[in-house]
């Protein structure tokens, strides 16, 4: 027998707010700052808390000190304009013969404004700058279009960016009109067409069954020859643009050209090398391994030295590459080796069942790679690929050591300009260049993190 209940609650108890240490701003502050420095239960914990308090205070002090120092240098104390055209005297203190108070320490921005065009485009003729602007604008629109989600025709734009855009940029930047004989180009195109038709006939079985096996190669070689010669022909056309040699390029323009060429060339080369290294043919895999390990084992500087000193020795007398092209070849080979290792990592992560499944479907080696393995392997390693790109972008600064004026090289030669000689000259230009590089590299690394999150989300289900 049960005793009757005296009281039965009919409605829910009121919800209590979460404790102050768990929610809201105070909760966040507690968990992230004060929890680690307020445990005084035992001697060890007290020492740890005390250390944490002092260490945090030190870091806050350092952070504020450095940030204020930077803001003061770059904005508050900086000289922003030089209306009287005094040049270096605009950034001199009284002691040095100028008008700024003694002990002044700030950025000398008029110096950067004066060197702006040089830092961006080098000695490129000023009246032809529109050509750089045009290629940059087309390039950035295309790039954003190809990378943005949910825009129509992304794939097509991407293909155009890889094929037509380099041609357009090359013509715009150099002015085209390179010397090549149109008869020679015509002959090559006829050779290409002939090869294609032989390939077609072979594929149709008119030239025997054995030949049919190799007919595809003829087609590929034929189309390759035609494409190469069409490019040569277009580049040789006269667009009525003033020619600008690569010797007149400089600054950020060179940085972008070297980085983009390296990026675009390193990916396909790297894929081929990675596939070669994993090939079952011993000669191919040994050769690819030697190639990769050689370039990865030496510093880029030595590669650039080799490209600029030894390349002229390797080529027949009379063939002369310009300085930029030599450096580009060095950068390409170097970055291809690094890219190959990244891609190999992706290939290793692919399940063996994928290869076997493709084989069971009757796909050939190249079909397996193109349709099954590479799409998975490459998406796997997108973060690694972007990181290699970032490394390559930073490494372009090294070309300044072999006498090519990239952004940093242009900055260095600006520092040597005595007309602007002040104690803050070097710091000002390094700050400026540092900001430019930081924006590019940080942007790329954010994109890589974004892709990583997106991929891990899509892999989760």
């Amino acid at each position: 027998m049960t005793t009757p209940r005296k009281y039965v609650r009919t409605e829910d108890a009121p919800l209590l707010p979460p404790p102050a240490t768990e929610a809201g701003i105070t909760g966040w502050l507690w968990q992230n700052i004060f929890a680690s420095m307020s445990d005084f239960q035992s001697l060890g914990a007290a020492i740890r808390s005390l250390f944490m308090i002092l260490f945090s205070l030190l870091l806050v002090y350092l952070f504020i000190d450095q940030t204020y120092g930077l803001i003061d240098f770059a904005i508050l104390s900086a000289v922003w304009s030089d209306p009287e055209g005094l040049k270096r005297e605009a950034c001199w203190t009284v002691q040095q013969g100028g008008s700024l108070p003694d002990g002044w320490h700030g950025a000398c921005w008029p110096f950067v404004w004066a060197k702006q065009k040089f830092a961006w485009f080098g000695p490129y003729p000023s009246e032809e700058l529109w050509r750089i602007y045009l290629s940059l604008i087309v390039g950035s629109i295309g790039l954003v279009w190809a990378l943005r989600e949910r825009l129509p025709y992304r794939r097509q734009v991407g293909v155009l960016m890889l094929t037509l855009y380099p041609l357009l940029a090359f013509i715009l930047l150099t002015g085209g009109n390179s010397d090549a004989s149109f008869t020679g180009i015509g002959v090559w195109i006829i050779v290409g067409l002939a090869l294609i038709s032989v390939g077609r006939m072979g594929a149709a079985g008119h030239l025997g069954t054995i030949f049919a096996e190799f007919a595809g190669i003829f087609g590929i070689v034929g189309w390759g020859i035609i494409a190469l010669n069409v490019v040569r022909g277009i580049v040789a056309l006269d667009f009525n643009l003033t020619p600008v040699g690569t010797g007149d390029w400089g600054g950020l323009l060179i940085t972008l050209v070297v980085a983009l060429t390296g990026i675009v060339a390193s990916l396909p080369l790297g894929i081929i090398l990675a596939l070669g290294r994993r090939s079952e043919m011993p000669v191919v895999s040994v050769l690819c391994t030697i190639f990769i390990e050689f370039w990865r084992g030496v510093p880029l500087i030595t590669v650039l030295f080799m490209a600029s000193v030894m390349l002229p020795l390797f080529l027949p007398a009379g063939v002369n590459f310009d300085n930029l092209l030599r450096a580009l070849i060095g950068v390409m080979l170097f970055s291809a080796a690094y890219m190959a290792e990244v891609v190999r990592g992706g290939l290793q992560a692919i399940d063996k069942g994928q290869y076997e499944g493709a084989q069971a479907m009757g796909l050939s080696y190249w079909q397996t790679m193109r349709l099954i393995v590479l799409p998975q392997a490459l998406t796997h390693v997108i973060p690694g690929i972007v990181n290699t790109f970032i490394g390559l972008f930073k490494d372009t600064t090294l070309v300044s050591i072999v006498g090519i004026f990239d952004l940093l090289g242009a900055g260095q030669s600006a520092v040597a300009d005595a007309a602007w000689s002040t104690p803050v000259q070097a710091i000002t230009i390094y700050l400026y260049i540092g900001i430019i590089f930081f924006i590019f590299c940080f942007g790329m690394s954010r994109y890589s993190i974004f892709m990583e999150n997106k991929l891990s989300k899509s892999r989760r289900h």
Binding site: N32, F55, M281, F294, G297, F305, M306, V309, L313, P423
Partner: protein, 403 residues
């Protein structure tokens, strides 16, 4: 029995493989032959010969005083180009070893800071990493050399770091130099002996703990042994080492003021700049590796360790660090390798390392491009391949433990 016909050969995957390989090899040999032929022709046109005879010729240029010049006793006009080569290698490895030591300490600290529960500590580490990682190393090198170290006081002036012991000016960092006297070798021997005894003691203590469960205070005994034995020998042999302090003159003839040569030792600003830039830049990458390595240890490991009664310190030392190191060490080695290769950037500020003095100054004087660039590349390549071989050995060892 299969019939050997042309068709069966063409359709045989293995035969096709042979065909492709022979084809590739012959293309490659032709390419190499073409390159070598061109090179021979070009060298003949320029009236040059190939050979390593130049190595014994005397080098006629000044190299600023560094570890390498001290080790190989460099004299202009008397030392050979081979000496220059070795000086370059010594200086490269000097800055690489110092850089590796610095980058490891800073990198591990920042990496652990990045995982802190404390927001301030965490974000400070994040800002450090993002800032240093995204700015080219060469720019950082220029910053330290041209913007920071050039702003130091002039040759006739100084700033004290530790009064009378360490000071800096634009010519470098001045530190006391040890002067070693003959009996010093006994102290070194005592130090080595103490370390050997410690190792023996450690394995004995471990064996005893496994058998009886009794622990032995290895750490304190080892410290006492290593310090005590060494200091005792040092004292008995009559203090056979003294310090030469850098001497600075404030008065007297104006050209004689400043640090006096022959006293103390100097670290040239080029080296300081290279060291600072390499250390701080590589530390940012090491920090990310350390963070990833610690995060890779599953949380259950910590909880399991706590549940069998381990204290946090023991958990860290016995459970987390050994597992994290397995993830950390391979990329860490490749960062060390990168740092060593990046030390070649020092050519931009003329620190006398391998690229700068051998492939730079010496190459300009001798003009033996092929031999010299080959010799230079061999140094880096040997080092890289040796490290790679070590890594393969290490990975194989770790894998065995993993089962």
């Amino acid at each position: 029995m299969q019939q050997l016909s042309l068709k069966s050969i063409i359709y045989d995957a293995r035969m096709r493989g042979y065909f492709y390989q022979v084809f590739i090899l012959s293309c490659l040999s032709f390419g190499f032959w073409w390159l070598i032929d061109n090179t021979v022709t070009n060298l003949a046109d320029r009236g040059k010969t190939v050979g390593f005879g130049f190595l014994s010729e005397n080098a006629g240029f000044q190299i600023s005083a560094t570890l390498g010049t001290w080790l190989f006793d460099y004299n202009v006009g008397q030392s050979s180009y081979l000496d220059v080569y070795f000086i370059g290698i010594a200086n490269t490895f000097l800055v690489a070893i110092l850089g590796i030591a610095g980058a490891t300490i800073i990198g591990f600290t920042v990496g652990i800071m990045r995982l802190s529960k404390n927001f301030i500590v965490r974000s400070f580490a994040t800002v450090y990493i993002e800032l240093l990682r995204n700015i080219p190393l060469l720019l950082q090198l220029f910053f330290w050399y041209f913007a920071v170290l050039r702003a130091l006081p002039s040759k006739r002036d100084k700033i004290e770091i530790i009064p009378d012991v360490a000071a800096m000016n634009i010519t470098g960092l001045y530190l006391p130099a040890p002067i070693i006297e003959p009996g010093f070798i006994y102290s070194v021997t005592a130090f080595v002996v103490a370390i050997i005894i410690t190792l023996v003691m450690k394995s004995w203590a471990q064996k005893r703990q496994f058998e009886t469960g009794q622990r032995f205070p290895v750490l304190w005994t080892a410290l006492g042994l290593i310090f005590g034995l060494t200091m005792l020998t040092f004292w008995i042999t009559g203090n056979p080492m003294s310090w030469s302090y850098p001497e600075f003159k404030m008065t007297g003839a104006i050209l004689r003021r400043g640090f006096q040569s022959g006293s103390g030792m100097v670290l040239v600003p080029e080296m300081l700049a290279v060291w600072l830039a390499l250390t701080l830049y590589t530390a940012a990458f090491i920090a990310e590796i350390v963070r990833a390595g610690i995060l890779a240890v599953a949380k259950g490991q910590t909880e399991a360790a706590y549940s069998i009664g381990m204290r946090p310190g023991m958990t860290l030392r016995l459970i987390i660090i050994p597992q994290a190191l397995r993830v950390i060490i391979p990329p860490l080695t490749s960062q060390y390798l990168n740092l060593t290769k990046n030390s070649s950037l020092a050519v931009a500020i003329a620190y006398p390392e391998l690229v700068s003095i051998f492939a730079g100054t010496a190459l300009n004087q001798v003009g033996k491009e092929i031999e010299m660039i080959f010799m230079m590349m061999m140094v880096y390549l040997t080092f890289s391949l040796a490290t790679a071989a070590f890594m393969n050995w290490f990975n194989a060892r770790v894998k065995l433990v993993e089962r």
